[in-house]
């Protein structure tokens, strides 16, 4: 797997964007800012998914994350945001910030070292790069007529979801139900509790 030309450029743009936005998520003073940056990060990641020919996952990412979860986040931020935070009166970090950053840094370094053997193992072989050059992509199918190339990703993921992962898929629906009930139960106030009891 190797990206060429514009794809490589787009990758670097997206990667740098993702990282910067991610760092800003973590360092933003206001939760709203970090939520917005998180949206940007998620969109970037979704674009990376497209780059990886996983359009379906990218769509789910946008729909569920950006459309659902992040709206939830924004509502909660709206509910719990305090004036003190806006006026820069609160500490942003815990006392263990520097240890945490150090450990994270060490972790990153060690991951890089861990990548080194992988770099050799996963390097694209000559035949593969040649096949890619010819446009022989297993994730792409030629549509009859007009010489169009159509991604088979959604099709195959849907198939996999309903064939191999049918039971987990149903269980996931149950999980979502439980989460809804749990969230309602947790978030309702004492007034509402009295109302219902």
């Amino acid at each position: 797997m190797q990206l060429h030309g514009w794809e490589a450029v787009i990758f670097y743009v997206l990667a740098i964007g993702t990282l910067f936005m991610g760092v800003y998520v973590v360092t933003a003073r206001l939760a709203v800012h970090s939520a917005l940056c998180l949206i940007a990060t998620l969109v970037n990641v979704a674009l990376l998914f497209i780059l990886l020919r996983s359009e379906f996952v990218a769509g789910v990412q946008i729909l569920v994350y950006v459309g659902g979860v992040m709206v939830l986040f924004l509502f909660v931020i709206m509910l719990v945001q305090t004036r003190a935070e806006e006026e820069d009166k609160v500490k942003l970090y815990t006392r263990q910030m520097w240890p945490a950053v150090t450990v994270a840094f060490l972790l990153a370094i060690s991951f890089f070292f861990a990548m080194q053997p992988a770099q050799m193992a996963y390097r694209p072989s000559q035949s593969q790069t040649e096949a890619e050059k010819k446009g022989d992509d297993p994730g792409v199918r030629s549509e009859s007529g007009a010489g169009l190339k159509v991604s088979t990703d959604t099709e195959s993921v849907g198939e996999a979801l309903y064939r191999q992962a049918a039971l987990p898929f149903e269980i996931a629906s149950l999980l979502l139900l439980v989460a809804i009930v749990g969230a309602v139960l947790l978030a309702r106030g004492s007034k509402q509790e009295k109302l219902y009891e």
Binding site: T94, Q96, P99, T102, V103, L106, S110, A114, Q116, P117
Partner: protein
């Protein structure tokens, strides 16, 4: 009736539950409460008599005098089902850790079952018979009391526990009863919980008993560990494999016996744990009669007799038992001489008589000990109830110097108590004579260990003192000047006016009469062959003989040989009893000034006796002081050594923390911050780690992840660093 023995303890329990749970709620009348309480006990008594009859006439002859254990059907040998018995604690299998069979696998399933044999039948009879009449007495004595239902509920609970104690077929059931009677004793001593001394006395009784129970519990565990069973019948067989341990030889059996005996000294108020019993007189008088004279305090004697197969295998412990019993008898008698509270005198008398019982057990005459339990239950219950009647008649006056001349006001009480008095003094043919004489003779002629004659001499003197102080009690109470008229003008209950003593109602005098008859005649079932001219009609000894294990030489010839010296001893003990009575009458009837004269002459002895040999003071004051001193010493050790160590290590770690903090701050800021938790953990190690902030935990978590990755990739990292170093060196060149 043997099939119904399981009902005997259950009935009082039912009575307890009815009175305790419903007594207040339904506002049961005194009549209802007393009907329930006495009725259940009466049923138990009838069942006991029935069981007695069936066991004696049909079961024992057919089964070689073997005990009837409800967990083993006598005919099939299999266990009987509920409610006769059931597996109460299914402990499964385990290995014995001690004794001959250490390592052997045994079954620790504890059965809930009852053992009916000669010994438990005697005790059951005592408990239910005396208990029933005391219940009847209490209906009169407690008349009008606020807590009437509570009192009878506790009494019934006590009966249940006491019956469990004597009927249990294994140590654990006995232990339940043992602790249960202790609990009821506590509850009933503290029955008048609004009185300070009653509360104190109940706590004292409970705590002192704890000391004894500690030994008992240890002994039970020891038995468990050594034999792998707690069933008395099995233990009696298993212990046959152990030889008798000679004098000064302190093996397994001696240790077990020691633990059991510590338990017995607690429950039966022997030296050094007797101090609770006199204080226990703060409870209502029927309680004193039932628990602290007739039944519960004899549980120790019963237990020693029940486990005689252990005691008899340790000559040392036999001697200790005899010695402790003898000394207790003597000391308590000397204290009893000078006490003025009528119930206190009787309490010390009880302690003294219990000492006799242990003396009997110690010299190997377990039968005589139980026989004394039997007769003592009658006459001491009688004396206590009589004193209760007196106290009732005088509106709760207990001090003998404020009594006197009551004989004509309370004729029934007086007459019945006279019988009790004759019985305890040991006048032929009343009950006390037979049992006490038997014990003294067995002591004199004991073959278990040497020195029986010394013990006999002490017991002999004690018998004289017993006669003296009991005579003193009777005369100070019933004869002479009517001192109660003088004192009550200035005393607390002025609103009564001068107290006019009155005879008690029939519900109280009837038990007195019944017990008086008992005190007069029950001794006849254990008549010594010496009196009957060689004809052995000692039914009691014959009856209990199967219970007593035959161990060693002393056990081998347990036959009662009549020797001429026995007649001498009988005459001597009669003489000393009569002498004691004579002296008592001389002091307290004819020349009342003599008492004070002699008290003055023997001032040191008198003070010693009056202050109870300072034993209370020693245990209560000095003992507590010593305990405090020991605590102080321990505290000092704690403060100097332990705290020093702790502070020292804290100091060291603080230094360490300072050093590492300096390192932190000035040397490698970033890296050491990452390991800042080490410094904190070093200062107050465990507390610092547990901050409660989950982010700290997560940090550690991540650090651990880093460590894992690092270890996994260490060769790559080393080689990379090496290459880098080489590059830097190379570029430098």
């Amino acid at each position: 009736m043997l099939k119904l023995v399981w009902l005997i303890p259950v009935l009082p329990l039912v009575g307890f539950l009815i009175n305790f749970l419903l007594g207040k709620k339904l506002k049961l009348s005194e009549k209802a409460v007393s009907t329930v309480a006495c009725g259940t006990i009466l049923l138990s008594l009838l069942l006991t008599i029935g069981a007695f009859y069936e066991y004696a006439t049909s079961y024992a002859p057919a089964h070689e005098n073997k005990p009837y254990v409800t967990s083993n059907d006598p005919d099939t040998g299999e266990r009987q089902g509920f409610p006769h018995s059931f597996t109460w604690l299914p402990g499964g299998q385990a290995h014995n850790s001690q004794g001959k069979d250490a390592g052997a696998l045994s079954n620790f399933d504890i059965e809930w079952s009852y053992q009916i044999d000669q010994l438990s039948l005697v005790m059951m009879f005592i408990v239910t018979f005396v208990g029933f009449w005391i219940h009847v007495f209490a209906t009169g004595y407690m008349h009008g009391d606020k807590g009437f239902y509570r009192f009878f509920a506790y009494l019934n609970l006590f009966m249940f526990m006491m019956l469990l104690l004597v009927m249990g077929s294994n140590f654990l059931i006995m232990f339940i009863g043992w602790e249960g009677v202790g609990l009821c004793s506590y509850l009933l001593i503290g029955y008048y919980f609004d009185r300070q001394e009653a509360g104190d006395a109940s706590k004292k009784a409970f705590i002192v008993n704890r000391v004894g129970d500690f030994g008992f519990a240890l002994a039970i565990m020891g038995v468990f560990a050594a034999f792998g069973t707690l069933q008395f019948t099995e233990l009696a067989q298993l212990s046959e494999a152990y030889p008798q341990e000679a004098m000064w030889q302190f093996g397994l059996m001696s240790w077990l016996a020691l633990g059991l005996f510590i338990g017995a000294t607690g429950k039966s108020a022997q030296i050094p744990l007797y101090i609770w019993l006199p204080d226990a007189m703060a409870g209502p008088t029927p309680v004193s009669a039932l628990i602290h004279a007739a039944t519960m305090v004899t549980a120790g004697v019963f237990m020693v007799t029940r486990t005689n197969f252990i005691f008899q295998r340790s000559v040392t412990m036999m001697m200790i038992v005899a010695l402790v019993g003898c000394l207790t008898a003597f000391v308590a008698a000397t204290i009893g001489i000078t006490q003025t509270d009528i119930k206190k005198v009787l309490a010390y008398s009880t302690v003294s008589q219990l000492g006799y019982m242990f003396l009997g057990c110690g010299v190997g005459a377990f039968v005589a000990g139980i026989f004394h339990v039997f007769t003592h239950a009658f006459f001491k219950a009688l004396l206590f109830l009589g004193s209760g009647s007196v106290i009732h008649g005088l509106h709760h006056e207990q001090e003998m110097p404020r009594m006197g001349g009551l004989a004509k006001y309370m004729p029934t009480t007086y007459k019945t108590m006279m019988i009790g008095w004759l019985a305890i003094c040991g006048i032929i043919p009343f009950a006390g004579f037979w049992s006490k004489d038997e014990i003294l003779w067995k002591t004199f002629s004991t073959e278990v260990f040497g020195g029986g004659k010394v013990l006999w001499a002490i017991g002999f003197i004690t018998a004289g003192m017993t006669a003296f102080y009991m005579t003193r009690l009777m005369w100070m109470t019933f004869k002479g000047e009517e001192r109660f008229r003088k004192v009550h003008h200035d005393s607390h209950d002025d609103h009564h006016g001068p107290v006019e003593p009155h005879e008690s109602p029939p519900s109280m005098t009837l038990p007195l009469i019944v017990l008086a008859i008992g005190s007069a005649v029950v001794g006849l079932i254990g008549m010594s062959p010496a009196i009957t001219g060689g004809v052995n009609i000692n039914w009691f000894e014959h009856w209990l003989d199967p219970v007593i294990a035959k161990v060693g030489e002393a056990g081998a010839h347990a036959e009662h040989h009549i020797e001429p010296i026995e007649y001498v001893l009988i005459l001597l003990s009669l003489a000393v009893a009569i002498g004691g009575i004579y002296l008592g009458r001389l002091f307290y009837e004819k020349r009342t000034e003599l008492a004070d004269i002699w008290a003055a002459k023997l001032r040191p002895l008198y003070t010693l006796s009056f202050n109870k040999w300072y034993w209370d003071w020693l245990l209560d004051v000095k003992g507590v002081e010593a305990g405090k001193a020991a605590n102080d010493a321990l505290w000092k050790v704690d403060a100097v050594v332990v705290d020093g160590g702790v502070n020292g290590s804290a100091w060291l770690t603080r230094i360490g923390a300072a050093v590492s903090g300096w390192w932190d701050k000035w040397v490698i800021d970033l890296a050491v911050n990452a390991t800042g938790w080490i410094a904190r953990a070093g200062s107050v190690i465990f507390r610092a780690i547990q901050t409660g902030a989950w982010q700290n935990y997560a940090l550690l978590f991540t650090f651990g992840l880093f460590i894992i990755v690092f270890l996994y990739e260490r060769t790559v990292i080393y080689s990379t660093i090496k290459n880098l170093w080489g590059m830097i060196r190379g570029s430098g060149n």
